[in-house]
Point group: C2
Chain length 266, copies 2
């Protein structure tokens, strides 16, 4: 993969991705969130992986995702994709692995600062909130620290024909408590208007420095020596699976009465 | 995805070799919907134009939009932007005009067919539905025809400090009945999952061939000699205003209980 121009000089770089038969050339666009799949559809049973990680990486080097048939959690950092599975292991995921739902960006922090100590996840979120001035903003956030205990989870693989909603399978999630671990929280804070398509608010995965632990973060106890990097994202590119299960998925139309009135004129 | 060159350079390809500050070069990406702004925010008072049409055109040559402070309706076709105002006039909008909310694409139809006759808007929509197999698809649609009567509307300009929701200003919309008119319906069919961010279902503006009429389509009587062009869009790029009124807009978070349960793990 050749990396092309980037930065402020490129006004709409997502339009510049080109491909030829002989080699792939990808222009890198920072400060943009790329999402494949749809949160509502994912948590309600569209677990089959569609997009290979090799292609996901064209859209970002940082982020979160779900492996084919759930089978744990994906965390991207510095262009590497880590898969944390229900057996407690974290490994590098192969490029051929497909994701059903993922959100990535080429991470370039606008703001870096340290926090001496946080008490727990809620405390961390409250401290982060002071820095996220745009209440409707999209933020990619990387947090390095020494964590006393991080509680993570990973779902086991689901059967390929299963479409039981994740919220009805919470008893199947495996929980892990990682103690005294140096590592990274990788994730996002997303605005309320993306709820449904994605998840609003904070959403982090953990990956330990020595790759012995990881997964979706549910809670943490105190952490210290914290370095926070934040990148505000200015564009959101959504691509959804081009397959029958998505095309037929019964999305519930929100009851947007005001929009309908304006549209119809009465 | 087809890649090309948009703007002046497309007619003078030799200029690409000597690109200078005088020429803007933009790669064209078909089958993608670009949206600026947010429907919920727009209909609830964020009427101030932010994005100049000159920049909107970098993202598409076809589509719909709202002019600065409402002031009618915008319709894009073949790279031209038409503004239909409450005084019943339709004119070419200047590149300097700013839009608060717009959705555009570089239009390249996948499917073209004719319909002998439709009875009204509902009948048209039902006939179109037969062709839109992907029930969660995004479609750009252009319909040429001879229309018996097209009923359109255009809102007058709002005061720059007004944030009265559009649904509370429906008595201010001006209605027009255009008879025996050749023209185009320009618009989209969008999926339920974009309701809120945009408007789900069909949404058309009208523009007469001789530019004497246009606006947001509310109803129509019979039409004939209909040619329909449809382009299925595979990606959705959202950009929102980088200004204080958007950052502080009180979006109501949808009650996505299942997403929250999965996120929190209980």
């Amino acid at each position: 993969m050749a990396i092309g121009v980037h930065g402020q000089a490129v006004h709409h770089p997502e339009l510049q991705a080109t491909a030829t038969v002989n080699y792939k050339k990808v222009s890198v666009s920072y400060h943009k969130l790329y999402q494949f799949g749809h949160a509502d559809a994912f948590v309600n049973g569209l677990y089959r992986g569609i997009l290979p990680l090799s292609e996901l990486k064209d859209h970002g080097d940082f982020g979160l995702g779900a492996p084919d048939l759930v089978n744990g959690e994906l965390t991207l950092n510095n262009g590497k994709v880590y898969q944390s599975t229900a057996d407690g292991k974290t490994t590098l995921a192969p490029d051929s692995l497909k994701t059903s739902f993922a959100m990535v960006t080429f991470f370039k922090p606008d703001l870096t600062f340290s926090i001496f100590r946080v008490k727990n996840l809620k405390d961390l979120y409250q401290q982060l909130d002071h820095y996220l001035e745009n209440k409707n903003g999209m933020f990619a956030i990387r947090i390095k620290g020494l964590f006393d205990v991080v509680k993570t989870r990973a779902f086991p693989s689901v059967d390929k024909d299963s479409h039981v909603p994740l919220a009805q399978m919470l008893d199947k999630q495996k929980l892990f408590n990682t103690s005294k671990s140096k590592g990274l929280l990788i994730g996002y804070s997303l605005p309320a208007y993306l709820s449904g398509i994605n998840i609003s608010g904070f959403h982090f995965h953990f990956i330990s420095d020595n790759m012995d632990a990881g997964g979706h973060v549910l809670e943490m106890s105190s952490a210290e020596k914290i370095i926070v990097e934040i990148s505000e994202l200015k564009g959101f590119l959504l691509e959804v699976p081009d397959d029958e299960s998505f095309k037929k998925f019964p999305f519930k139309g929100s009851n947007k009465e005001d929009l309908q009135k304006v549209e119809k004129g009465y």
